[in-house]
Amino acid sequence: MTTALTILGLESSCDDTAAAVVRQTGASAGDILSSVVFGQVELHAAFGGVVPELAARAHTEKLDHAVEAALDKAGVSLAEIDAIAVTAGPGLIGGVLSGVMCAKGLAAATGKPLIGVNHLAGHALTPRLTERLEFPYLMLLVSGGHCQFLIAHGPDDFIRLGGTIDDAPGEAFDKTAKLLGLPQPGGPSVEMAALRGDATAFSFPRPLLDRAGCDMSFSGLKTALLRARDAVVAENGGLGEQARADLCASFQAAVADVLAEKSRRALTEYLAGNPTRAAFAVAGGVAANQTIRAALQAVATEAGAEFSAPPLALCTDNAAMIAWAGIELFRLGHRSDMTLSARPRWPLDRSSPAMLGSGKRGAKA
């Protein structure tokens, strides 16, 4: 565990084309030598959501440029890289496939080992990249596509305590923005509008709080928001700025309440295992929301657990987390061969029953 490892990471599972170089010396936290992210917000803006085919087209023509930029910024040549890590799922399959093929090309050409990384493991291991958090820690992964509580026991060992049974909160933020005529991505624009709003103006449901366990649901919240909006529009012939701000603040408060209460339950379950250094970490784009972050921090403090939230650039999709997960998996001896598949579905916890998409194609996450 004393050698330095330098790994190139590639990420293209949603609408960010990313490449990064991360180095770990000894057993320390990671040193991000570069982290390049080419976003696609404008590409999808007119469609009110990420269009998979458009995303895949963009990734295919941007990935190699992202890799070059990351190597250049890091001042590292391909020859100095120890291995190539790539997101192999779960995510939008067209983009994941482009990343996997580009990484295979790089690995074959350079003779460097290839490591297929689970995108969710990338998020879930980020607290170790930034703070060297010790296992086991509790993780809330909350983004545009995912929402789940995990206990991280090792780089490849996760137990899921619960998660959303329908939409992810980030998706709900995007839909809320769309319904209220706010720009995409919805997370930041709803949060901004909520700053001037009254969080008690509208009474939105807190789904599944009456049920035991850590499962969540956000699709009903979206419907409730639509009804409330329609009522306001019907009454006033349109949506005023203040009403819009109030809707945003009330919606955000409902999401924060649900996440906080379910976090409280997840913490109880996690602490029952007597971890040596109790820690609650959040990751994913929604963890960038200040109201939600503050609510989660308060829950952690109340439970006596250390709270960890990565900086914004490492909350949203990036390749530094993939490179870091690659380092952790490489040290465990993981290697992929040239038959590595891109997987649209790939649950982190392979033992717990599937929550989403439990049809014939298997669990989504």
Partner: protein
């Protein structure tokens, strides 16, 4: 005497995975497998197999030729993404070659190249020395204009029907797809204006703006 440069050509733009290793005009090794899925898993092992058969390694290559379609979107991206990664890793050029062009490579005179675009549509391009024609997505009722009295050779999907409409002759491609791609790559690998390979889609992404309009915002 230095031997001719080694060029590796490959294509997954339709229901196949195909590769060829070319030295000048000589095919050193090749492989072709019909498959409707699994190209992403098969492609690199197939390329390694072709290299091994010829006793060559990745480092011996001077250029790559890659099929850019038009064809199956995912299939095209599999090869183009791999080619870009390989080119970056090897420090050699990757030349993107259209399937429409590869299909008529080596045939004399005016040619009409066509491919199945599904949904009763075709991808069609006319090739005529000295006169550039763009590739198009069309159907049999909207074929691009074909030069009069050219008696073109028609190759590919529905070529007999197309030949009947332009007093042409239905013919078969002169070379297998991957070999034609590698040969064209060999001709272009030193071009100063060579760009990185990019898929030739010809058909837009199925994406529609949201149906529900946002509410009127009162100011």
């Amino acid at each position: 005497m230095p031997s001719d440069p080694l060029i590796l050509g490959f294509d997954t733009s339709a229901a196949h995975c195909a590769a060829v290793l070319l030295c000048g005009d000589t095919v050193l090794a090749d492989a072709h497998e019909e498959m409707t899925k699994g190209q992403a898993e098969r492609l690199i092992p197939m390329l390694e197999q072709v290299l091994t058969q010829a006793g060559a390694g990745w480092g011996d290559l001077a250029a790559l030729g890659v099929g850019i379609g038009p064809g199956n979107f995912t299939g095209v991206r599999i090869s183009v993404s791999a080619a870009r990664g390989l080119a970056l890793g090897l420090g050699i050029p990757a030349v993107g070659v259209s399937a429409l062009e590869a299909q008529v490579f080596g045939l004399p005179g005016v040619t009409v190249s066509s491919l199945d675009a599904r949904r009763d549509a075709l991808y069609v391009q006319v090739f005529e020395m000295g006169a550039p024609h763009f590739p198009v997505l069309c159907d049999m009722a909207s074929l691009p204009p074909i030069p009069a009295r050219a008696a073109p050779s028609c190759i590919g999907h529905m070529n007999q029907e197309i030949a009947a409409r332009c007093a042409g002759h239905a013919k078969a491609a002169a070379l297998p797809m991957a070999e034609a791609i590698a040969r064209i790559a060999g001709q272009r690998m030193h071009n100063d204006t060579l760009k990185r390979p990019a898929p030739l889609y010809l058909r837009g992404a199925d994406a529609a703006p949201p149906r529900a309009a946002p509410p009127v915002i009162l100011s």
